[in-house]
């Protein structure tokens, strides 16, 4: 019960903040929340289950594009479009996850990297369906029960997504599934010996987190009401990895901190160092890894322990 209350309180705080900000800050905040949602999911996949994958952003893109295509080109009713979109994500995830159970460590990383790049190629060559290189614009979120969800109200929706994602992942983490994932991450043979179905655990973890990324993508589609290939480019997959590492892999709070810090850093750096903000960003990331190889959350732990 207390967790529900805490969840509701978190939602109220996160959503309420949106109403106190101007348009620009709302926009940044919305995108920040989406990155946090993605980082939480990726943290579960990478930090807790130990799977190095670069396909997370591709699923973000699959979710975004599919909701737009299903709603505005195939004109499906909204609930059906959402369901189909999620189903598509699950299907693609399974198609990637099941063969990947035979692959370890960096081999999975490369295969998912290849997938991410192929996704962009498909988007660009997609002609009328995907809008090709220019993507799709000129659509609006449909009304729900006569309500127009705009501006801070839509931010509230994203806040709901974040809180929901966090709740699901934390719940999973503390369950037997979470323990199985950690066991698979640390020592697959020992896990198998203890009766954990290693392949199935990996597939479920991958599919679940990819589906969550897809849902986040569906929410993203209505933030700027545009989807195009550069948004889902492969560089973002690396940024996501950095966020989780810098924050502290395996810890939900770490994912939140890492995502918030690395997303906002360019905005803070730009006015100060202008031209060279990417260089400073790179140096800071390297420094963060050097000084805190277990993530910034490790520093908080040490401070908290004192």
């Amino acid at each position: 019960m207390t967790s529900v209350i805490r969840g509701a309180a978190a939602f109220i705080v996160l959503a309420g903040a949106a109403f106190l900000m101007g348009e620009y800050h709302n926009d940044v905040y919305r995108k920040l929340l989406l990155w946090v949602a993605l980082a939480l999911g990726y943290n579960f996949l990478f930090g807790i289950c130990g799977q190095v994958a670069f396909s997370h952003f591709a699923f973000y893109g699959i979710g975004a594009y599919s909701i737009v295509i299903l709603l505005f080109q195939l004109h499906l009713p909204f609930p059906l479009a959402v369901a189909c979109g999620i189903a598509l994500c699950i299907l693609f995830a399974l198609a990637v996850a099941i063969p990947s159970t035979r692959l370890e460590g960096f081999y999975l990383a490369l295969a998912t990297l290849a997938l991410g790049q192929l996704f962009i190629v498909v988007l660009n060559e997609g002609g009328a369906i995907t809008g090709g290189t220019g993507g799709i614009a000129n659509y609006r979120l449909p009304q729900f029960f006569g309500l127009n969800l705009r501006g801070p109200w839509y931010t509230a929706v994203i806040a709901l997504l974040v809180v929901g994602t966090y709740a699901v992942l934390v719940r999973l983490d503390h369950s037997w599934f979470g323990r199985a994932c950690r066991a698979v991450r640390d020592n697959p043979e020992a896990a198998a010996a203890m009766g954990v179905d290693v392949a199935r655990t990996k597939v479920i973890a991958f599919t679940l987190t990819s589906a969550l990324a897809g849902i986040a993508g569906m929410v993203y589609a209505f933030v700027d009401n545009t989807v195009n290939p550069p948004i889902f480019s492969i560089d973002n997959a690396f940024l996501l990895l950095f966020m989780v590492i810098v924050g502290g892999a395996g810890r939900h709070a770490g994912a939140v901190i890492g995502a918030a810090l690395l997303f906002l850093l360019p905005f803070w750096l730009s006015p100060i160092v202008g031209h060279h903000q990417a260089l400073v960003f790179g140096v800071l990331v390297v420094a963060a890894i050097l000084l805190a190889p277990h993530g910034l959350i490790g520093i908080f732990d040490r401070l908290a322990r004192r």
């Binding site: 370890e104 081999y107 990895l241």
Partner: protein, 291 residues
Amino acid sequence: MQDFFELAVGAAASGCVYGLIGLGYLLVLRPTGIINFAVGEWAMLGAFGGFVLLTQYEWPYPLGMAAALAATFLIGWTTERVVVRPLVAKSAPLLAPILALLGMVVVYRETISAIFPPDPMPVPYAFGMGRLEFGAIGGTYQSCFIIGVTLAVFIGVWLFFERTVAGKAFEAVSLHRRAAALMGINLSRVTALSFGAGAVVAGLGGLLVAPNTSAHYLMGVPLAIQGFTALVIGGVGRVEGALLGGLLLALAEQLTVRYAPIPSGYAQGMPLVLLMIFLLLRPTGLLRARA
């Protein structure tokens, strides 16, 4: 058929460049277990070294090449000391230096981007733009140069690992770090040298390919991916694997574009498909390590 012969030498040259990048990975990977994705940026540094010394200052080619490679060696060595050694000393998980090096990709690229204009920069050919013909097969001077230099490098590296005591030390470190340390092998020196050597080899690849592709700040990542694919195909067990993988990758790429009856927009996906097939069916690569 004539097209095939025409392509052969050029594709072999491309394959040699991929092989050099793959070797750049390998020289670091073997003793340390670290996959260094910054090799692409090292290649870019070699290319820009060539631009500065050979194009801007017009040094004679051998001198410019040597100086550029010396500079890349220094950069590789310094990177190891500054970015990798502190992490190893702290017993950080293996992933940490790999990610730190990924961060260095950004640092290298942005440093070049800050110093040089964003346009592609010319790097001169070693012997100009002529062609050598051997009957049906022919290639540009540069292609022949690339193949020759790459063979020399690979033979040299192979001899180093197989025939010299220092090379055996490298092998020992890659097989078992602690045992090697107990045997008196200086781990940090081996690691530093491996980074330096990896940088030289990658920088050489960049310098050799840049006369065709130009030196520009975004050239690192595609090379890094191609080099890694070459390594996966060839296998990390043996040095020759990188070269074999590179040659196969280049041939597959170019022959697919030339002969496959699919639109070339999709042919560009071919290396990715090849990579995924290899990962699924033969993740250890074509050449097995010697027992």
